[in-house]
Symmetry: C2
Subunit: 193 residues, 2 copies
C-alpha cells in the first residue's frame, strides 16, 4: 500500500515555490531555482506536482487563500469603515514596497503575466477577485447604513471602484518613486466613498 514516506510537507514546498514565482514570475522561474528553494530534487518535485505549471497554480491558490484571509480580517475588524479601508490600502503599500525588489502582489503579477492567455490562471484570479469584491461590497453596505459611506451610489459599484483603485495602486507600487502619489491615491479613493 504505502511505500517510502515523503520527506517534506506539501504546504512548505508550496510556500517556497510561491516565493520563487512571486519574485520572478512564471516564465523566469526555472525548475532549477524551484528545486533549490524548495530543497527537493527534480524527481521529487515532478513526482509530487506533475509540472511547473501545476506547481504555479498551487502556489497562486495558496497565496490567494492567505491573502483573502488577511484582507477580510482587516475589513471586518472593529472601528470606522473608512479607517479599515485605509488600513487595507496602506497595508498594500507597505507590503508591496517591502524588500529591495518590489515584488508587488502575486495575484496582480499573475493576472498580468498569464491572465490573457492562460484560462486556468485567469479563472483563479477571477474567482479571487469575486471574493474580494463580495467582502468589499459587504462593508460598503454596512457603511452606507451607518452613514459613514455615501448612499448616492449602490454598494456594489462603490466596491468595484475601490477594487479597481486598489489594484491600480498595486501596479503603481511597482514603479512609482513619489510616495505622495501613492498616498494621494489612498486619500482620493477614501474621499470618493
Amino acid at each position: 500500500m504505502s511505500g517510502r514516506p515523503r520527506e517534506f510537507k506539501n504546504t512548505e514546498v508550496i510556500d517556497a515555490a510561491m516565493d520563487v514565482f512571486w519574485k520572478n514570475g512564471f516564465e523566469a522561474s526555472s525548475a532549477q531555482k524551484l528545486c533549490e528553494q524548495t530543497g527537493l530534487g527534480r524527481g521529487s518535485l515532478y513526482n509530487a506536482f506533475g509540472s511547473k505549471h501545476a506547481l504555479f497554480e498551487a502556489s497562486l491558490k495558496r497565496y490567494q487563500e492567505i491573502g483573502i484571509q488577511e484582507q477580510i480580517k482587516i475589513l471586518e475588524q472593529p472601528g470606522p469603515i473608512k479607517g479599515r479601508l485605509r488600513i487595507l490600502m496602506e497595508w498594500a503599500i507597505e507590503f508591496d514596497l517591502k524588500g529591495p525588489e518590489r515584488r508587488g502582489c502575486f495575484t496582480v503579477n499573475s493576472a498580468v503575466e498569464l491572465g490573457g492567455k492562460d484560462p486556468g490562471v485567469a479563472a483563479l484570479v477571477d474567482h479571487h477577485i469575486k471574493n474580494l469584491e463580495q467582502a468589499l461590497c459587504h462593508v460598503m453596505a454596512l457603511g452606507q447604513r451607518s452613514g459613514e459611506i455615501k448612499s448616492k451610489r449602490p454598494a456594489l459599484e462603490l466596491a468595484r471602484l475601490f477594487l479597481s483603485s486598489y489594484y491600480g495602486l498595486r501596479v503603481l507600487n511597482k514603479v512609482v518613486q513619489d510616495r505622495n502619489l501613492l498616498l494621494d491615491v489612498v486619500e482620493g479613493t477614501l474621499a470618493a466613498l
Copy 2:
C-alpha cells in the same frame, strides 16, 4: 564612410518587436520570434539594437509615445470633461479586450513584469505615468473651474485617483469575465469626480 545600407526602417522593426513583447512579455519573447516577426536575421537585429533588452526598451518607449498621444487627444477633445474621461476608460476596455488573447496595456504589462527589478523599465514607466498624471490633472482643473468636477478635493488628487482606477481597470480587463464589473468601474470612477 557609409557601408552597406540598411534594408529596413528602424520604426517598422520596433513596431513589429513591440507586438511580440506586448503579446508575450519580455521573458517569453525569444530572439527567434523577434526575428520572424521583424523579418530580420539575428545578425541584423543584434547589429542594429545590441540586445533583446535594448530592443524591449525601444519598443516600450515607442508604445508610450503613441499611447500618450492617443490619450491626450481623447482628453483634450471638445465636449464635457466627464464625457472625455468616460471615453478614455471605455476605449481602454475595448482596446484591452480586442483579439482572442487579452494583451492588455503594454505599459502595465511591463511595469508588473519588470518594474520591480529593472530600474530602466521602472524609470520609463514612471515617466510615462507622470505624463498621464499631468494631462489628467489639467483636465480635472478645467472641470473644476467649469463646475463639471467637484472642487472639494485638489485636482492633483482627483487625477491620481483616476489614474489608479484606470490602471486597475486595465488589470481587471485581463481576467474578468463579467463585463458589468468593468462598466461599474467606469461609472463609479466618474461619479467620484
